[in-house]
Point group: C2
Chain length 439, copies 2
């Protein structure tokens, strides 16, 4: 097995089709540009700010969880050793702690048995898709433009995905209803609708409460499940959050996809699913959807790593099951970044000037993202020029649409991973690019 | 969302077919019996012994990894924070450390770029299957009886699986060649062969070196990949290990599925894949199979949790990249258990008596498992009676075959999770069951 040996060569055409799909590579150009221009200011990554992470606290969180296991849960030292080192319960060991936080932070009353603790929200999406999609006629609907994690997971499973165009304020219940009707008429079986109601990735839009209620009505009428993904809901001004779909859901239409990547930290890779739907077997037996997801999870990752669960559990305990409050410094930081970005853009491109040029942007109330619309094509060529000549990087919005089918004149600006000073300088460079290309 | 609300009920028939497959539930009866008879001695679980785990060492391993990042890898404190907390490299951050251990422990020279660090070996299997299986005619071959993790993962992806019967000493190269030929003649495309050459789960057999070489020849002739899974290779008498298929592989026919579940600890959920095959695109470009697996992993778990990688990395550093040596106490423990089990069975059922009754067992050189053959059906009814009346639990071998198609008169005894005293008492109870049912 040295490099000089004759080598087995596999034909890419024989590998699974997803591997040749542009969708799976969509972020590569961005990553590649970023590595070629390391000094450019990047509005690219949707990563949380790192300045608030403290390496030395990992041990404290682990200790807090160990104390909980001993003192509150009443485990012996041997049982604690088993919980930390051994194979564990497939659906997780911190489900009760997560349920407590959901009650405080979201007003969601989740039965811990309906929770599946996953390797990041990504695994949660994957498990849900695998469970729900059985027939080639089954269709996943997504609010469009759409996060590539869900469309990519669907592609891995050969699930047909249909984009439902968003309006200015996010998912459009009427468009959803019409799309479902058209698909049914064509012999398809629309099964679920994926949506990020709070500060959507990529657009930053936030769905008004009335539209949330209408989405639930449409789902009920159309016998559709709603897959609600909510990584950014805490990152708004204190007291201004809207109820999640799951909090409004009186009929268990919503499968809630939760993430600790932004509210605790991404490296733990801990997320969860609330899957409280009942599943009726042909023999009359009933299970929870969470039990079905467990069977799938056993064949994907067996269980979520105990150490990751312990650290996240320790954080929940340390913050008294109030992550929204614990995230106030982070929320303030992102709010400040958002304010700086909006202020700089408005100052450098006053309303009359930008309107004359056909430049505009939305004004999100929170979250990590903002959408900027241009009169010229915001494609890889413009991105390359932007990085090379102006030292600023951003994400073409067309990455979040089916190839060639939308977002051609928009860019996504992510404000989560930069400092206010970098944001201000980045905005200056961005306007420099706009001066050159469309003013 | 309270229990009194009208509830969305999903029909099990509309869920993915895997969820109704007996394969996905095969271990349930065993788990359920175990929970109903908690005082029974269980030869069921293939878990590592826990007595050697030390909770207080977790912090030491984390520290060792942090020191490595700072002193050997030259990272700044900010970079270390990023590595531990942030989203990370999809294929992992401890790939170079794993490669060093593979060189020492297995004589495998793996380019770190060909390694994918996974959420347990289970995710590795899942990624490899997703990458390799594209067409409905593609068939996965497995050495039979077979670990349910691989057949379950295949079922999730609707991959057809064909069992290739093992001989006394494990996988049978001739049977493999014949099965491939028969499948090809039927228009199928055999793609890969899954095998555990060292102390197979479930049988405990260990494939002789000559047969390993013949498997590689058959794979080369038949243009088949070998999926080598090796969780138990270290657990033999010191100095008696055989070369892995990957160490003998001069043509990159072998995709090696590695696990730290038994050699470090299961709760970390860290495994890896060596995927050093070249992939040729239609446009002439080449990648490593590991790069293709990365695209899939990004849509399943994004990356393996950093903390888990840090602890395993710290263990590799602490043990100077020699896990085989570090596992000598564990190997000795399992060897002692194996010796006790074989001695007790032989004493309680002397050769003449057992031969007259049609009872026999294999004599593994190592590993976690032993196969016991009976003259009566070793099914769930016998297991239930065994647990209830004799206080001893084991795994029907038919769990590891297609339903109704093999292993009817065999049981798997796992010796890894018990103490020698429990093993001795368990053997006594087992013989009591045999006295009652077949002597």
């Amino acid at each position: 097995m040295t490099d000089a040996s004759p080598t087995t060569v596999l034909s890419a055409e024989r590998l699974h089709g997803s591997l040749g799909d542009p969708l799976m590579e969509v972020m590569n150009f961005l990553n590649e540009v970023t590595s070629r221009y390391p000094d450019a200011i990047s509005f690219g990554p949707g990563r949380p700010y790192e300045g608030l992470f403290e390496v030395d606290r990992i041990g404290d969180y682990l200790d807090a969880y160990r104390r909980y296991l001993a003192e509150e849960a009443g485990h012996t030292p041997d049982e604690i050793r088993t919980l930390l080192f051994q194979y564990g319960r497939t659906n997780g060991q911190i489900h009760e702690l997560v349920a407590r936080a959901l009650r405080n932070d979201e007003g969601i009353e989740a039965d811990p048995r309906s929770l599946v603790v996953t390797v990041g929200c990504q695994e949660g999406m994957f498990l849900v898709l695998r469970a729900l999609f059985a027939d080639p006629a089954d269709v996943l609907l997504v609010s469009s433009p759409c996060y590539v994690g869900i469309t990519g997971a669907a592609r891995l499973l050969d699930i047909e995905t249909v984009h439902v165009p968003e309006g200015e304020r996010g998912a459009d219940p009427d468009a959803l209803r019409e799309t479902v009707a058209a698909l049914r008429a064509a012999g398809k079986r629309p099964r679920a609708f994926y949506v990020v109601p709070d500060f959507s990735n990529p657009t930053g839009s936030c769905l008004p409460t009335a539209d949330r209620r209408r989405l639930l009505e449409v789902a009920e009428e159309a016998d559709l499940l709603l897959l609600e993904d909510n990584p950014y809901g805490f990152f708004t001004r204190t007291g201004t959050g809207l109820p999640t779909l799951k909090a409004l859901d009186t009929r268990r239409r919503v499968i809630y996809l939760g993430s600790f990547a932004k509210t605790c930290f991404p490296g733990a890779r801990v997320g969860y699913v609330i899957a409280d739907q009942h599943v009726q077997a042909a023999d009359g037996g009933r299970t929870l959807l969470a039990d079905e997801l467990s069977k799938i999870k056993g064949m994907v990752t067996v269980n979520t790593p105990a150490l990751s669960q312990a650290v996240i559990g320790g954080m929940l305990l340390t913050h008294d099951f109030r992550l929204r409050e614990a995230n106030k410094p982070a929320a303030d930081f992102y709010q400040e970044n958002l304010a700086v970005l909006l202020d700089r853009l408005d100052t450098l491109l006053p309303r009359e000037r930008r309107e004359a040029a056909g430049i505009s942007w939305n004004v999100p109330e929170g979250g990590f993202f903002l959408t900027l619309a241009l009169p010229v094509a915001a494609d890889n060529d413009l991105l390359e020029a932007s990085a090379r000549e102006h030292g600023v990087i951003w994400t073409p919005m067309n990455y979040f649409y089916p190839p060639g089918d939308g977002g051609r004149h928009q860019i996504r600006l992510s404000l989560s991973y930069l400092t206010p000073a970098q944001i201000a300088e980045g905005a200056r460079r961005l306007v420099e690019l706009l001066e050159r290309s469309c003013l």
